[in-house]
Symmetry: C2
Subunit: 366 residues, 2 copies
Amino acid sequence: MIIYFFVRSKSPAVRRKMDGVVESKEWYLAAYSPEGVPTSDNLKLRTVTLSLASHSIPDHHVSLQILFISVDPYLRTRLTGTLDGLFIPQYQPNQVITAYAVGKVVGSKDSKYREGDLVLAPSAPVAEYCIVPSSSILRKIDSASGISLPDYLSALGVPGFAAWVGIVVLGDPKPGSNVFISAASGAVGMSAGQLAKIRGCRVIGSTGSDDKVKLIKEEFGYDDGFNYNKESDYDAALSKYFPNGIDVYLDNVGGKMLESVLNHVNKHARIALCGMISQYNKVWTEREGVRNLLNMVGKQVRMEGFMLESYWNRFGDFAKDMEGYIKEGKVTSKNKINVGIESFLDSLASLFTSSNIGKVVVQLNN
Amino acid sequence: MIIYFFVRSKSPAVRRKMDGVVESKEWYLAAYSPEGVPTSDNLKLRTVTLSLASHSIPDHHVSLQILFISVDPYLRTRLTGTLDGLFIPQYQPNQVITAYAVGKVVGSKDSKYREGDLVLAPSAPVAEYCIVPSSSILRKIDSASGISLPDYLSALGVPGFAAWVGIVVLGDPKPGSNVFISAASGAVGMSAGQLAKIRGCRVIGSTGSDDKVKLIKEEFGYDDGFNYNKESDYDAALSKYFPNGIDVYLDNVGGKMLESVLNHVNKHARIALCGMISQYNKVWTEREGVRNLLNMVGKQVRMEGFMLESYWNRFGDFAKDMEGYIKEGKVTSKNKINVGIESFLDSLASLFTSSNIGKVVVQLNN
């Protein structure tokens, strides 16, 4: 059921495919961006020629046509030129950048993969085509699953997995627990809220507009939510929405919201730190300080940061759970699909403007 | 081997003991102290008369003569008039304050306790005499143990137990782990360093003078340490003392030191928050904000605050371990003993001036 690219396409790149050479557009790092939203000064698009001929693929490698690229906030921290914060290795100047992607195998030197296989590649070049070690492939996608490919980058991808680790593994709320999720209409938040509801929790989200508040209640099952842009006093908002305090907080924003949460935590509350999007565009000394960590002592709070790199051994458990929930209609995703590799930079920048709902994905049209 | 107080003493209070009535000095809350070091405006001494006659002791109660009072930083947080930070119930105006103490049973309406028994009372009135429910007694002290009574308030008391929970239960360092302990020459720090050394760790402490640095190395087994009053740049100091990063941090101070530690944590580091003495005399909005919590995400740090109230069920395990270590000479304590209940206020204030080494105890001379 997979229609091979080089059969259906008529582009110049494809014509060249006959001799195994393609033109491939790719994003590369032109200059680091210590602060602010990255621009075309930092990331640039170029076209390279790439041989995908069999003799050009080393053993235990595959060539991929990239179909969808996952645009996630953590990518921004790889562009600062400073190893802090998330401590993910920095992209290297003049080198193609990488991201989590869905690819289609177009050539293989590994018996586990055949032409036409759809695969998840957590660290694929942000490019139209690539050759990667087969060991870098996370797993094949079952094209008969009935699940859309973009969903493999949202509920079944990086943000869904992050939501699962944050809620199920670290937060571990009980039925009736009071759960708070920031950036609730974002890619992580939409799955996280639904996972907490599946556990029988009372779930409240914060998000950046009244429309998004409506959305998280109507589509993602949140019990309630508030627009942080309209609440000048987060403490008052949390008092209103959590009269019985907060048991579990999945933090996606950091800063003032995290500080306010620490004024409302219940004894033995758990805070899973998934990321801090409000802080990524600032050097650390300019970030908002959290002044009330002492509350963690009195309330005996456990706060834990996590990165998916430490949980890949749980990916199978996660995917089994989540595929079940998706098929049962218990978890749904909203995906914002931007078309063309050219849209990658704007897609990344859009993560920091509150303009998006759900998961931002770039669909390649090569 | 216990010489009864009313046999050896000649004080007026004792003469009155003949008819069961004693005069008892006690510290009470005169006025809350939201900020700064508490003074005699906040805590005052008064003398009350108290009947210790058998008919005055309710069933399941005992009368105690207090012998030693443990002076701990957390007491300060019960004097602010605001339930935040440690969230321990506030002392009530005009009421006698309470603390962890060693008492001697002078009368009993509980068959488990007899006159002369020495007991640990975690919430005893800061008074010369008292009548308390026997259920409030933690345990009897074995007077044949060879362990001094002040040690029951230091290595075997609140600070030693806090050190054990912080290092053994929450920090859980491995042989060779790099362990950092702030307020290293304080009551918690002296036990914590020795417990980490017993686990085979490399242990570095920070403390407030060169003499104290010498002390923690010579008496408490620390591998090295630094004087935070001489280090204008904590980051530079931590770079120097932790070339391989920090695996476990027992935080007793909070604020800038905690922030600096977060710039030096290794992947999967653990931070046990025992208390934040640098922050107790400030309202929370004036406390030092920690700006680099994002590092907890990238380094996947677990930070957990704790209060002993949740660990009393482990006290037996702790006491067994610690009594063994003390008897084997693997853990020693330095106790600063101030004589007379009158010294309680100055003793409490002294915790905030860096003037002390080790555990501050008030020995009553009634």
